[in-house]
């Protein structure tokens, strides 16, 4: 190195005998003393010991070097240790590096001469590259600790409550007019057969009464901008035409002259033009159906205005767009069901009394249109039913995977049927049975014991359902045709449309089936591919209620641990940067950035990196055809210096 090179202190750690025994540290010291590679060379028994750290701090304080190289163990073990020690003496962390002469030399080379030579080249490389290191800082930014939860199903509600209880301000954005999602539409939850609405009710009122939770229902997310700590969620709220003072007393329902199909009842029942989804919904306020309400269609009616004891009717309400600032976004948009096209072969949509599992749930639900009594279309009580597993799954035009939880719900059907229609004969046609837990497995055996007949059909694709008088004839390979009153199709779970739409808005990577990818499938499964956007409930992949809630809790826990009031979000100390003076705006870096941290400015014809999103992988720097992108602390010059240091003498 030339005399102009910075002043470097070289620490040699004996690591007890771990290094000293295999590497001739005196030889090393001599070499660098002779070459002038290091201005000061200090050895120590065990640098990572309290005494050693103090030693480092003192030597640095005394010599005021520009750079420090610690030849010891792996930087993964102690780089931070020595950065802190030198830092205590005022040296910037970026100016401290390690040469890994223990794991990479002493421990893997039996020939002492060779080990020593290798140690020397590793140290030379470290010295040369450290000379070129720039200062690093652990920058952090103010962040918003509020949380936006998208989707008001049980997962969204759970996440919201945990965050709110931890003191975060939470906004729940729900597409429907009130919260509840799939669970509120369900009678009982397998395998424990607990009353689903009862699970939800206390949580709903907790949400309603929670000072930290704001619910925006009848609303959709239109855009999400920003990054972890600073998101802006744009929401379009549809007009409700009823003030929040409404308590859902239903007085207006009586007087409303209009009746329309009720989507909450899957169109199997009716509702008025002013309605709620169910008594005690949150928000409690009813909604006026603009499309059908006579006030809007022909202006002929305003009966509800008189009927309302709270003067809550407000025909002047308008759609509005709301912006919510949040530090993190929890996505809890739930999942969707197989489209009936894939079920046509099984009579769905063509034959009466053929239901998908979600439809059956509504039918059997106490908040369904029969109030929970199970009847056929013609009002008769079913005496026999067939449940067909894997309907629309693992077949042509259907889902190409096993959802893993539908077998349990399929078993549940039998239980519900027997409870509501005593004496009913239930047969489940299945192929392989999949149960996610011993409890579910036991539930199956118990149901078999209680009389559900389980018939294994090799090829479920061969099952067909046809009309037979006012009954249904089910034929399946290897089974005598059977005639029953009702057929229930056990369908799997697929990404919901709203979920797919949101994933697009958020730029989330999605897997081949359309589910948002996890940040890390094992280490961080509730994180999405965008930092600060979390996946709760079944939007991430098919799951049962238990898992949906667990995911919500995990996501909320991570959020509150990272978004602590007063604490700033620490930025990556080694982000990549683009030099605007060199950037040719070719945009190729944008495609390779795994975090979508790079954006192109069409005005200035340059791209730039958002340091709050960048994690410093440096792939953009390796890609940049114009040498404008640089990976901090791993710049080309630093790497070349390291290569040159290693190959010294060969050139």
């Amino acid at each position: 190195m030339t005399s102009a090179s910075p002043k470097t202190v070289l620490f040699l750690c004996k690591c007890g005998t771990n290094i000293a025994e295999f590497v001739d540290l005196d030889e090393v010291a001599k070499t660098f003393a002779a070459s002038g590679g290091a201005a000061v060379i200090e050895s120590h028994e065990l640098l990572c010991s309290p005494d050693g750290r103090k030693f480092v701090q003192d030597v640095v304080a005394r010599n005021k070097p520009d750079c420090v190289v610690v030849a010891a163990c792996s930087p993964k073990t102690h780089e931070k240790t020595f950065q802190d020690a030198a830092g205590a003496a005022g040296l910037n962390m970026g100016k401290v590096s390690m040469a890994n002469i223990r794991e990479q030399s002493a421990w893997v080379t039996s020939n002492k001469a060779e080990a020593t030579a290798k140690a020397i080249s590793l140290i030379r490389a470290a010295i040369r590259r450290t000379a070129l290191n720039e200062e690093l800082s652990r920058d952090s930014i103010e962040c918003n600790t509020d949380v936006a939860v998208i989707g008001g199903g049980i997962a969204g509600i759970e996440a919201a409550l945990i965050a709110a209880n931890a003191g975060r301000k939470v906004t729940i954005i729900e597409r429907d007019i009130s919260l509840g999602g799939e669970v509120i539409r369900t009678e009982e939850v397998a395998p424990t057969m607990e009353c689903a609405p009862c699970l939800l009710a206390p949580r709903l009122s907790a949400v309603r009464d929670h000072p930290n939770i704001r619910v925006i229902a009848n609303a959709e997310v239109t855009d999400v901008l920003g990054f972890f700590g600073n998101f802006t969620v744009k929401v379009a709220r549809k007009a409700r035409y009823i003030k929040d003072s409404c308590i859902g007393c239903e007085a207006c329902f009586e007087v409303c002259p209009v009746s329309v199909k009720n989507s909450f009842l899957l169109g199997m029942g009716e509702k008025k033009a002013v309605y709620t989804q169910f008594p005690g919904s949150v928000p409690a306020a009813a909604v006026i159906d603009r499309e059908h309400c006579k006030h809007f269609t022909d202006g002929s009616c305003s009966a509800c205005v008189e009927a309302c004891p709270f003067q809550a009717i407000n025909f002047d309400d308008t759609d509005e767009s709301v912006e919510i600032a949040a530090g993190a976004v929890v996505m809890a948009t739930g999942s969707g069901s197989v489209d009936s096209a894939a079920l046509a072969g099984l009579g769905h949509g063509k034959l009466d009394n053929v239901y998908t599992m979600p439809e059956f749930e509504r039918l059997a639900s106490s908040n369904g249109f029969t109030g929970g009594t199970l009847t056929l279309k013609d009002g008769r009580i079913p005496t026999s039913a067939v449940v067909i597993h894997c309907a629309g799954s693992l077949c042509q035009g259907g889902l190409q995977y096993c959802s893993g939880i539908c077998c349990t719900t399929a078993v549940k059907a039998g239980d519900l049927l027997r409870k509501k229609c005593p004496g009913v004969a239930v047969t489940n046609l299945h192929d392989r049975l999949v149960f996610p837990s011993p409890q579910a497995q036991a539930f199956y055996q118990e149901q078999a014991h209680h009389g559900t007949r389980f018939v294994r059909v090799g090829d479920l694709a061969g099952v067909s359902v046809v009309r037979d008088g006012n009954a249904l004839k089910v034929t399946a390979p290897g089974m005598a045709p059977t005639t029953v009153d009702m057929v229930i199709l056990s369908t799997g779970m697929r990404p919901s449309q709203s979920g797919a739409h949101l994933a697009q808005l958020l730029n989330l990577d999605v897997d081949q089936w359309g589910f948002p990818r996890a940040d890390h499938s094992i280490l961080h499964a509730t994180g999405s591919t965008i930092d600060g956007v979390y996946l709760a409930g079944s939007c991430a992949s098919p799951c049962d209620v238990t898992t949906a809630i667990t995911r919500a809790q995990a996501a909320a826990g991570d959020v509150i641990s990272r978004l602590a009031p007063g604490r700033k979000v620490e930025l990556e100390p080694m982000p990549s940067v683009i030099d605007a003076d060199l950037c040719g705006g070719c945009k190729l870096c944008i495609a390779v950035c795994p975090y979508k941290a790079i954006t192109y400015d069409a005005e200035k014809h340059v791209s730039s990196i958002n340091e709050a999103i960048c994690r410093g992988c440096g792939t953009c720097a390796a890609t940049c055809p114009g040498k404008a992108a640089t990976a901090k602390h791993f710049t080309n010059q630093q790497i070349y210096a390291e290569i040159g240091g290693i190959l010294n003498g060969r050139v």
């Binding site: 792996s74 993964k76 080379t109 080990a115 290798k118 490389a125 992988c617 070349y640 290569i643 060969r650």
Partner: protein, 143 residues
């Protein structure tokens, strides 16, 4: 004249392969001292220009080691590296550099034994080829 001992530069990613080398050390698995590591955060950071520079500066063989596909700490940097070096290999051949002198491979943090094996195999392969002489490095002899 001592037997030829090649110099191998291995660019290793911080999260898997560097850690793999550390565990190799932890388990005292010996491998040739001629293998020297250069740490980068991700195999996706390895610019082909690094590899060229290493060859030009006198390396007889160069390796790029990263996380196994699917395990990349940065999601897919290793896949970017894979695509890149597929094309790079074609070009190396055009410069008359034997394909055995460059290797892209995956070593996870746990694969101590595997790390020692891949670098040893590489060294043996290159030792068999002898020192690297680049065509362009042929000096200006006169006809």
């Amino acid at each position: 004249m001592a037997a030829f001992e090649p110099t191998i530069i291995a660019f290793v990613c911080n999260w898997c392969s560097y850690a793999g080398a550390d565990s190799a050390g932890g388990q005292r698995l010996e491998y040739p001292a001629s293998v020297k590591l250069v740490r980068v955060m991700c195999s996706g950071r390895v610019d082909p220009q690094f590899v060229m520079q290493a060859f030009r500066d006198g390396a007889d063989g160069v390796m790029v080691l990263g996380c196994h596909p699917g395990d990349c700490h940065y999601r897919n940097g290793n896949i970017k590296a894979l695509r890149r070096f597929e094309l790079f290999a074609t070009m190396l051949a055009q410069f008359g550099i034997d394909s055995k002198r460059f290797k892209l491979d995956w070593v996870s943090a746990g694969e101590a034994k595997r790390f020692a094996e891949v670098v040893t195999d590489m060294t043996n392969a290159v030792r068999g080829l002898g020192p690297l002489v680049l065509n362009g490095m042929v000096e200006r002899e006169v006809a």
